[in-house]
């Protein structure tokens, strides 16, 4: 069970669930969580292959991915708070407002 194929299957299933969440849900929080889930699945893939090759570069790359996810969380959640305060809903349509403010 604990072979390369087992870990790869788990991470591909998690990545697919994240992608399906981005496709099918309209709640902006759930879309954010699906993106986080996809990042986690890629981390699992990187760590699996780091163990497979006994090379720790994969650990460093997945640590960088965690740092990017933390930076993304700060920006994404503050944008969601701003949009929820002004619009009062959580639909993904609120992000079309960002296009008009630039013009």
């Amino acid at each position: 069970m604990t072979s390369l194929l087992g870990y790869a299957t788990v991470s591909m299933i998690l990545f697919s669930i994240g992608a399906i969440g981005v496709i099918s849900r309209r709640n902006i929080f759930v879309i954010y969580m699906s993106i986080e889930l996809m990042l986690n699945a890629i981390n699992l893939f990187l760590v699996t292959f780091a163990r497979y090759h006994l090379n720790m570069d994969g650990h460093v790359i997945s640590m960088i991915v965690v740092a990017i996810a933390a930076a993304e969380a700060a920006i994404f959640l503050s944008v969601i708070i701003l949009l929820f305060r002004s619009k009062g809903k959580l639909d993904t349509d609120i992000f079309t407002e960002l296009k008009q403010e630039v013009e």
Binding site: M1, T2, S3, L4, L5, G6, Y7, A8, T9, V10, M12, I13, L14, S16, I17, A19, I20, G21, I23, S24, R25, N27, F29, V30, M33, S34, E36, L37, N40, N43, L44, V47, A50, R51, Y52, L54, M56, D57, H59, V60, S62, M63, V66, A67, I68, A69, A70, A71, E72, A74, I75, L77, S78, I80, I81, L82, S86, G88, K89, L90
Partner: protein
């Protein structure tokens, strides 16, 4: 023993992710994702990546998911604020139909790779010391770039918080 742990952690990870996909309320979805993230941390520990296990528990489950739960409770979302998702099940079916061939292709490729022993490495792999040596020798430029990125994110969130106050005064 390790097989049992792997199956249990994989089961919890996939169950948490599925509940995140299916629950309508975002707070239940966040709790499902929390279970999933902690289980992925356990899988990191099984892959003898002890430093990544710590990072996953402290940064992901401890900081990012707690921030998300804190914001969900702070916004106090009612049932009528949630968007309607009339064709959610249809889109989930479309997503499964799209993702299945990709999964089959990638897993078929990986099954043809030479299988290595994935048991726990005793010492000298994945600890804090080894990662630190690697990070400050080979990966010093990406590390500095990441620090600049996090600085930009801090400035960005400060700017966003300030803009809201100016808007409210108007």
């Amino acid at each position: 023993m390790i097989d049992v742990l792997f199956v249990a952690l994989a089961f919890f990870a996939i169950t948490g992710a599925t509940s995140m996909l299916l629950y309508k309320s975002p707070i239940y979805a966040a709790l499902g994702l929390l279970i999933c993230v902690i289980s992925i941390g356990g899988l990191f520990a099984l892959l003898s990546a002890s430093f990544m296990f710590m990072v996953q528990i402290i940064v992901y489950a401890g900081a990012i998911m707690t921030l998300l739960l804190f914001i969900l409770m702070y916004l106090n979302i009612d049932e009528e604020d949630l968007p309607e998702e009339p064709n959610r099940n249809f889109l989930i079916g479309v997503g499964i139909a799209v993702m299945l061939p990709i999964n089959a292709l990638i897993l078929d490729t990986i099954a043809k790779m030479p299988q290595a022993d994935m048991s726990v490495v005793e010492e000298g792999f994945g600890g804090v010391k080894e990662i630190g040596v690697l990070l400050y020798n080979d990966w010093i430029i990406p590390l500095e770039l990441i620090s600049i990125l996090i600085l930009i994110a801090v400035i960005g969130s400060v700017v966003l918080a300030k803009k809201r106050k100016a808007k409210e005064l108007n």
